[in-house]
């Protein structure tokens, strides 16, 4: 099908999950992702699949835990405050090695915050966000077309490694409508040997995360860590634009990367050699590629819709090899390309000036 | 459901209770439940769990009522009753086994 269709981001993500063979969706209304819930409320019963609007995000994520324990392909979606409620179950699911895809359509925070887009849940997503030593792979689309591709990829990673996977997007992408060629991908069914189905003619199975003997839990942690190393080796994703001759690279993901793309074009036409390094997997973070790029640059500018979260991983990755500057807006404000260009110029020509102070010039309060 | 005792066709002895003493925790709830009072903790024994296990002290008075088995949290009891044919003819009906 080569015809382009106008699709809303949230609905495209939902339909991509349906096409990928999602068996069950559990959710709770929260802005700006209610459209995912509503799309699934219509589509899943149509197909005889499972849909529940749970009593809360706590209910939804735990329903997902139960369904995933039986080997079902499960999608859950929410936004910041709801994702926080899901942290406990995410830790349990990582520990119990259950596959699942969780979509966070980020909004302004912290707290109840605002309903406009942000990227302030990066720490939460990439640093485990629940208790204990674990990670979940995090994928960040920056267009609706890319979101449609990454949803089945997320299910594949989840099932290949037996892990929850998060898709981190924001309210802008969720609410926007873009023309896309709807390349929805169907996925095969893997066979599992660990799922719960009733101990009929086989020994009983237990899906658990409690290992009271410390030696046992350490052994289990080593298994999990080995899994994360394997994922770090195989599932890094990033995209680069105009990096070959760049003197400054903007590092940004999601909506920030879209703004940065326009800023890059404007800066280039003003003679500045700007490139864009766009992480697509936020965990595992493309540290190796970034570190390889750093020596060729005079500066890096990280742009986020937050007070600065991914910038820490960028600084860790380049290990002091190149100055790293940061520009961001919080609260649901989205930087304009003009602001980003000014931040690029500041980083290149006034490196002592903190680009974030430019926010005052843009009319916002610091 | 009938079980066969090892060996003989007509065994001379049988017990109304078989007790998994290694699983008993000496909670005494069976002593409370037992109406004829045929159970007691065996204070001369400490089992692998560290408790005095229960012991049948008067098998003749045991009526195989299984109240002990019903209250036991650790399911240590297997309760036997004499086969219907061997019982005193208290019942008008023909035995079904």
């Amino acid at each position: 099908m080569t015809e382009r269709v106008l699709m809303k981001g949230n609905e495209a993500i939902a339909e991509a999950a349906v096409a990928a063979g999602c068996d069950a969706y559990f959710g709770y209304p929260i802005t700006p992702q209610a459209e995912i819930l509503e799309w699934m409320a219509r589509r899943m019963p149509e197909l005889g699949r499972v849909f529940i609007q749970a009593e809360s995000e706590l209910g939804a994520i735990n329903m997902a835990l139960g369904a995933a324990a039986t080997g079902a392909r499960v999608l859950v979606s929410s936004s910041g405050p709801g994702i926080s409620l899901m942290a406990e179950a995410m830790s349990y699911m990582a520990a119990s090695e259950l596959p699942m895809v969780l979509v966070n359509v980020m909004r302004g925070g912290p707290g109840l915050g605002s309903i406009q887009p942000s990227q302030s849940d990066y720490f939460q997503a990439t640093k485990g966000h629940g208790h204990g030593d674990y990670h979940v792979p995090v994928l960040a689309p920056s267009s609706i077309a890319e979101a449609i591709e990454l949803v089945p990829t997320a299910f594949e990673i989840a099932e290949r490694y037996r892990t929850p996977v998060m898709i981190l997007t924001d309210g802008s992408l969720g609410q926007a409508m873009e023309p896309v060629v709807p390349r929805f991908r169907a996925l095969e069914r893997p066979t599992f040997d660990w799922t719960l189905s009733g101990a009929d003619g086989r020994p009983p199975r237990v899906v658990r995360s409690l290992h009271l003997k410390a030696e046992d839990l350490e052994a289990h942690n080593r298994v999990l860590q080995a899994k994360y190393h394997a994922i770090e080796g195989a599932e890094v994703r990033w995209a680069g634009e105009r990096l070959d001759d760049a003197e400054i690279a903007i590092v940004a993901y999601g909506t920030a990367a879209r703004v940065a793309t326009t800023a890059m074009a404007r800066a280039r036409s003003a003679g500045l050699r700007v490139g864009l390094f766009r992480p697509i997997s936020l965990w595992p973070f493309p540290s190796v590629a970034l570190r390889a790029l750093a020596p060729r640059l005079r500066a890096i500018l990280v742009v986020e819709l937050s007070a600065g979260q991914m910038v820490e991983d960028v600084r860790l990755a380049v290990e002091g090899g190149v100055p790293v500057h940061f520009y961001g807006r919080t609260g649901g404000m989205v930087p304009t390309p003009g602001e980003v260009v000014r931040a690029v110029e500041t980083a290149l020509f006034d490196p002592e000036v903190d680009p974030v102070s430019l926010v005052a010039l843009a009319g916002g309060t610091r | 459901m009938a079980i066969a005792l090892e060996g003989s066709v007509a065994p001379a002895t049988w017990a109304p209770l078989r007790i998994a003493t290694d699983r008993c925790k000496g909670c005494e709830l069976c002593l409370v439940a037992c109406t004829p009072g045929v159970l007691a903790l065996d204070t001369s024994v400490v089992n692998v769990l560290g408790y005095h296990p229960v012991r049948l002290i008067d098998a003749a008075a045991c009526t195989s009522c299984a109240r002990c088995a019903k209250v036991c949290p650790d399911a240590v009891f297997t309760v036997f009753a004499p086969p219907r044919a061997a019982r005193a003819p208290r019942h008008a009906k023909e035995p079904t086994r």
């Binding site: 139960g66 899906v207 658990r208 | 079980i3 439940a33 036991c72 949290p73 036997f80």
Partner: protein
Amino acid sequence: MTTETPTRTTRLESDESPRIVYQRPELLTDRSTHYCPGCGHGVVHRLIAEVLGEMGLGPRTIAVAPVGCAVFAYDYLGLDFCEAPHGRAPAVATGIRRVRPEAFVLSYQGDGDMAAIGTAEIVHAAARGELITAVFVNNGIYGMTGGQMAPTTLLGQKTTSSPGGREAVLHGYPLPITEMLALIPGVAYAARGSVLDPGTIGKTKAFLRRACEVQLEGTGFGIVEVISNCPVGWGMTPRQSMDWLRDNVAAVYPPGVIVDRGRPALSLPVASRPEAAADDA
């Protein structure tokens, strides 16, 4: 396993063998439980093993284990089990039930799990009429964490977090969770049993069986609360704990069938007086 030497002898006629009146149900594993001596969890596990075994449901069951003393239920019952976070068992059971229509789904929770942190999950599973059978072991205390007050702790009862005894003004009243749930139309069966003595244990087993039938019939959500003892948490011997259960707990949480919507002709009003509930058993 040591065998008692018999002290009664009797000569058996012909080659008839003694009948087995009672034996350990097959669905109980061989492991000795970690539960304290006299703990009601052991009885409830045994009843579940008996009922599921008699109904042939073992191979189809997917059960959900709580957080609390009974977290290890999966070591003692030979069933597929999923561990749930504290309070979330009804949601986990819902997820399982919806994607596995052919399974038999059982959840097992204590009073903290269901009546404190998990109140929302149990109410909404009941409201959805979820086809699961919920077992609720109510011993009025948080056993595993060392004996703190539970939502079902009795007024006046001393616990490590109500050392002066529970007072309504400080701690609120004990929650009648099962009566609350029974109001919900999605609940097809709600009953309360106890582990007090062989008679009540037999009735509890019947309640459990009926709650399982209700799931198989597809009429709705089934819950069996079992008032139980916690000798160590209550600071009593097992014998004393049964006295407490009979003399104090049963008055506040009276055993009986609270509602059975699966048999409309026999549907009973929500119990309002202890003696009314006792008659329903």
